[in-house]
Amino acid sequence: METKLESRVRQTRVILNSNYAAAYAVRDADVDVISAYPITPQTGVVEKLSEMIAEGELDAEMIHVESEHSALSAIIGASAVGARVFTATSSQGLEYMHEVLHIASGMRLPLVMAIATRALSAPISIWNDYSDLMNVRDTSWITFIASTAQEVYDSIIEAYMVSEDPRILLPSIVAYDGFWMSHTYEPLYIPEDRKTVLEMLPRRPRYTLDPDNPITMGSIVNPDWYYEIKYQQVEAMKEAYRVIREADAKIEENLGRVYKPVESYLAEDSEILVLTYGGIYGTLQTAVDLLRSEGLKVGALRLRLWRPFPARDLKTLVEDAKTLIVVDRAISYGASIEGPVALETIAALYREGLYPTIASFIAGIGGRPVSEDDFRDMVKKALELGERALKIGSIHWGVRGAEYE
């Protein structure tokens, strides 16, 4: 992300963690109905929103449901009658929603959800990784992965812009690192006057449950129709890429911040690129500086958009590199490459006709910190292994008991 000093909209500097940044964006989007269930590390979002509602800063209602399954179901109901809605969760809560995630996208409702990512049980762990998010990969939710509190704020606004676009009508997730981001305070800029956000988010008509114009939503479909309906979803998800780029442009124009589906740092002349996602991008950039001072031509990439997957952007950035190292933060058990983003990246580059040397690392599982030194050592390990790296599958970094010659 770059920030232009001048922006069309007057903004104030605030210090927030990513949970609170999400709550401020929801406030500024004038959301009508929120429903959520407490789970660490997401809880801060809903607590802040409750405060805002109690203080009259946001004219909305919070439905205090008895489960995440009901949280998502309740905002589906609210969205079906035309309300702007929001929920947030993590880990077990997201798993508990799983059934309803597919229904939300299948019903083409523009819901927005924040996810403070967290490891999955068992064993139970409240700390960060991205196993929860990666598990909902195929639910047809547009998915942003932010790396700063500023980006969390902007992405939530952007998510409403994209989800509510009549060409799309799919729900969106804005994910960020549990604890590393959800509980870390950072400075960010938010518009002084909420009206400017609302100008970017006009209320647009769509099909809703209205007694004056009755419709049937969520009907049963036989094999004659099901596939065509699902194919429309395939197309909407593809089309979302273009609409996201339009929304990126509007964010740039109004708020002065520039976002790309794949962010990069010193990538242009790099022979070695390291791709990751979420809050550890900052650490990776420091590691890149370190490696460059040692004379290695290394650059960093960050996947900001996970669904739809930005294959072309990745291609453009990776085109001139010899080695691509993907650092995942989730495990796909039993997969040929156990890092889910690595797996996807390999497929995307193959599709684009690009065959760099690739190494897949998995790190940061269950909240284990990933340092600059870790990144530096991963790069060195990848260079040492060369073509052999991928034969191993994914390299589980820093885990006791794993050995890779």
């Binding site: 009508d32 429903s35 008895e66 399954h69 179901s73």
Partner: protein
Amino acid sequence: MSSIYRIRGVRDLPREELFAPGHGLCAGCTAGTVIRHLLKISGRNTIVVNATNCVEVSTTMYPYTSWRVPWIHVAFENAAAVASGIETALRVMARKGLIDPNKRINIVVLAGDGGTYDIGLQALSGMLERGHRVMYVLYDNEAYMNTGIQRSGSTPLHAWTTTTPVGKVLRGKMQPKKPIAEIVAAHRIPYVATANIAYPIDMDQKFLKGLQVEGPSFIHVLQPCPTGWRFDPRYGIEVGRLAVETAMWINWEITMGDFKVTVRVPKRKHVKHYLRIQGRFRDLSEEEIEEIQELINKEVERINRMAGEEVIGPLAE
């Protein structure tokens, strides 16, 4: 709110049919009867939230629909949560001037026994506790019919289902029916009632009351199912009436905590009359029938105690 305020007989019901013919419910299915009456009472200003069940799959085969009111189905266990969201959204949007604040829209859940007694109980309890203005209509056919007659928490003692066969060791369902309406009433909501399609005016009056209260209401309707209960499709109403006449089923209501039996039965018939016309009880022995009769006798005693008088009379035939 519907345009009707009082129902003394069928003539007070509107002629307009908001449930269109041509649906795929089985011949003689009394769920259709429940829905027709329900929509006559609720009128056009109604949003229906349907859980996954027989009614959902039989009335909305894409690209057709039997519903002339807005209707939504999301999943099996969450109809109460979806309705909570709808009710809340309408309230907030009216307050914010996004929709007409003067229009009262009825929000009605339609769920089966499986979707209520079992998998949907948690969402239902949450909705009741939060006090949403939603009328929850449970149509009870005493099993998971949509998936082919499996036992639910509502299936009565010794009834045959595909998962509770009658054999040498196991004799149909081995547990009695769960008292769901009283579990709901324990949430202390404004209005809870039990009803039965064989007593349509009593049922319709209850729908009307349920829609008039300011919080949640719950109407538990016995819905005889020819396919699952194994009786001739022409006997649906007859089976419903026998359920009341034998006191296998009692029509009552609890209005703001006040309990009242709305259909009195001066003399009770023996339960064998109810059981014998249904194939699902075909294999029961005399002792098993007496065991069920004994359960009813106890229940009648309890109900009469609650009513403070003998609203259900002695066993006569």
